[in-house]
């Protein structure tokens, strides 16, 4: 089966006074229709930039993007606008992603107005009503303003807005990290229901390992702009071949007594990839690093069928054949 969206060797560099910031550096992935790719990593690993570049909110420095088999990496202007209907985004902060001066109904209706999807105001109203029902927002809130609502309801508005144009692909940039846990669960369930109902494809960006495991079919772990490990969701969590993935997962506090087996403290902190040196970007913090690691960039290769890892020593660390 072919992927709905596929990117190949995507790069996004930002110019900074100190040099080029390699925010996204050679990332490739494909997502099949109706599936979810979870992108995890710590702040500054380039995951948000990746999401924005994929849907043309930022222009890629290089690399190719295919949507339904068509190369859309070079499109501009009117064509971008056309593809925006198929590719939407849900934002992290339900407080700043909604215009405080617009009522709920107008926020949800805006994309419909931009694309002139409805003949008149009555049809628009009906459509907004349906969208509100779909995401579980009471219709009486249509005239409310975002600041009158709590975080969970605001995020539902964001979801409704993203759904309004019947997109095929949605980039979800940390959609639940600003929410309380009980609300988080409501929104995650909503997104899963919508995905099943509307055959949506998600690129789900988060720093929360538990959330990404819960919602994703495939997982991509990023570190300083690079792909570190990618595999089907279960496989990443069960096997975790890359030393960074191991450390990352070991660091997550688990709400179970004695749930944490080992403290595998990762030394040092993530730095920003400005004019990165050759070699593995994780080498400085890696307990297994050798000279080879700081000299040569590890290939992103299959360690097992369907499970790719960027590590020189993946075989010796994990005792693979």
């Amino acid at each position: 089966m072919s992927a709905l969206i596929e990117v190949r060797d995507l790069k996004k560099y930002f110019k900074t006074p100190k040099g080029n910031l390699h925010a996204v550096d050679g990332v490739s992935f494909g997502i099949e229709r109706g599936k979810t790719l979870g992108v995890v990593g710590e702040s500054g690993c380039g995951k948000s930039t990746l999401g924005r570049v994929t849907i043309h909110l930022l222009e890629a420095t290089s690399g190719r993007i295919f949507f339904e088999g068509k190369d859309i990496s070079q499109i501009g202007g009117a064509e971008v606008k056309r593809y925006r209907q198929d590719m939407q985004m849900i934002f992290q902060d339900p407080y700043s992603s909604l215009d405080p001066r617009m009522s709920v109904s107008n926020i949800i209706a805006e994309p419909l107005r931009i694309y002139r999807k409805c003949r008149d105001e009555a049809e628009l109203g009906a459509q907004v009503g349906r969208l509100m029902d779909r995401v579980g927002l009471a219709r009486r809130l249509a005239d409310a303003y975002p600041h009158e609502l709590d975080g969970g309801r605001r995020q539902r508005i964001g979801v409704a807005r993203a759904l309004s144009l019947n997109p095929k692909f949605i980039v979800c940039d940390e959609p639940v990290s600003a929410l309380d846990v009980s609300i988080q669960a409501q929104i995650l369930n909503l997104m899963q229901d919508l995905q099943a109902e509307l055959d949506l494809t998600f690129l789900f960006i988060t720093h929360n390992m538990a959330v990404v495991k819960h919602i994703s079919d495939e997982i991509l772990v990023m570190y300083m702009g690079k792909m570190v490990e990618s595999a089907p969701s279960g496989s990443v969590f069960a096997e975790r071949f890359h030393p960074y993935t191991k450390a990352l997962l070991a660091a997550v506090p688990v709400p179970v007594l004695g749930g944490k087996k080992e403290r595998r403290l990762l030394k040092g902190e993530i730095s920003s990839p400005v004019n990165p040196k050759p070699g593995c970007r994780f080498a400085k913090r890696c307990e297994f690093a050798t000279e080879l690691c700081s000299a040569e960039e590890p290939p992103f290769a299959e360690a097992k069928p369907g499970h790719r890892v960027a590590c020189h020593h993946v075989k010796s660390i994990n005792a693979l054949a």
């Binding site: 909110l57 209907q85 992603s97 001066r101 617009m102 109904s105 931009i114 907004v128």
Partner: protein
């Protein structure tokens, strides 16, 4: 089939009005402005005399029943002149502010939203304008275009543009970073739509404050221009020129300058009250 959701802004006007009327100062301001507006529209009904009815025999009469505010050096009724002066002063304030507001918002939006080269060019021009004293700028514009009421308004308006441009640009720089702007872009909104329906409404507060303050300074600048002979020509009653011509008699006849001065002061004050009230009433977040 599901019924529709109302797309109207929920009694937006009613809501705003309710918030506005809660602010006593703003209501008083609005009341006084309304009074001035009536004076400006139908001065001949309100004023007991014409603005240029001279009677040299009644020069410098103290305020009395016949002449509420007294008379000036030509025996003209000061009350009538103040009433007629409303028209000139209000028009001048409103038109010049509209000119500067429109130009300033456009320049500020372009500079703030597009940034980079546009920002640099516009802001450097603004810096140059700011380095020229306002009155000098106005004098040169009027001198170049010729003395007329419209040119006066234009000159004063242009002088106030830098203030708006800077305020608008600063406001936009902070609003631009909000995620809802990015959200609008991801929904395919054009730049114009983003600026008009998201950015400008969210920058209203500083713009309104700037506008109310500059109406006041426009009235005062006009007075200054009239004083040096480039503004309103006598005998047209204009508060500023009344002040400047009455200045010579201030020691002996206090009322000649007091009443036009009070008119300017109260107008400025009530516009400020009105502006504060409007700013708060227009913000849906400040509802209680």
């Amino acid at each position: 089939m599901s019924d529709t959701v109302s797309m109207k802004k929920r009694g937006q006007f009613k809501e705003t009005w309710r918030r506005f009327t809660k602010n006593k100062g703003a209501v008083i301001g609005l009341g006084f402005i309304a009074l001035l507006a009536v004076c400006a529209l139908i001065p001949s009904v309100i004023a007991p005399y014409g603005f240029d009815d001279q009677l040299l025999s009644r020069r410098f009469q103290s305020p009395s029943g016949a002449h509420l505010f007294g008379t000036d050096e030509y025996g003209r009724d000061i009350f009538s002149r103040v009433v007629y002066g409303c028209r000139i002063s209000l028009t001048l304030g409103l038109v010049s502010v509209t000119i500067s507001c429109a130009l300033g918002i456009v320049l500020g939006c372009v500079a703030g939203y597009y940034g980079k080269v546009a920002d640099n060019v516009i802001m450097r021009v603004i810096d140059v304008m700011l380095s020229i004293p306002n009155i000098l700028l106005a004098v040169s514009i009027v001198a170049a275009l010729g003395t007329s009421f419209f040119n006066l308004m234009l000159a004063i308006g242009i002088g106030a543009v830098p203030g708006y441009a800077r305020v608008v640009r600063a406001a936009i720089l902070s609003v631009k970073e909000q995620e809802y702007i990015e959200a609008a872009r991801s929904n395919g909104a054009s730049d114009l739509r983003i600026i008009v329906s998201h950015i400008v409404p969210n920058c209203m507060a500083p713009i309104i404050v700037q506008a109310t303050m500059s109406i006041a300074s426009a009235v005062l600048s006009a007075a200054g221009m009239s004083f040096i002979g480039l503004g309103i020509m006598p005998p047209t009653p204009e508060w500023g020129s009344m002040l400047s011509s009455g200045r010579a008699y201030i020691r002996d006849y206090w009322y000649v300058v007091t009443f036009p001065g009070l008119a300017i002061m109260l107008t400025v004050f009530s516009i400020n009250l009105l502006g504060d009230g409007l700013r708060d009433a227009l913000d849906p977040r400040l509802k209680s």
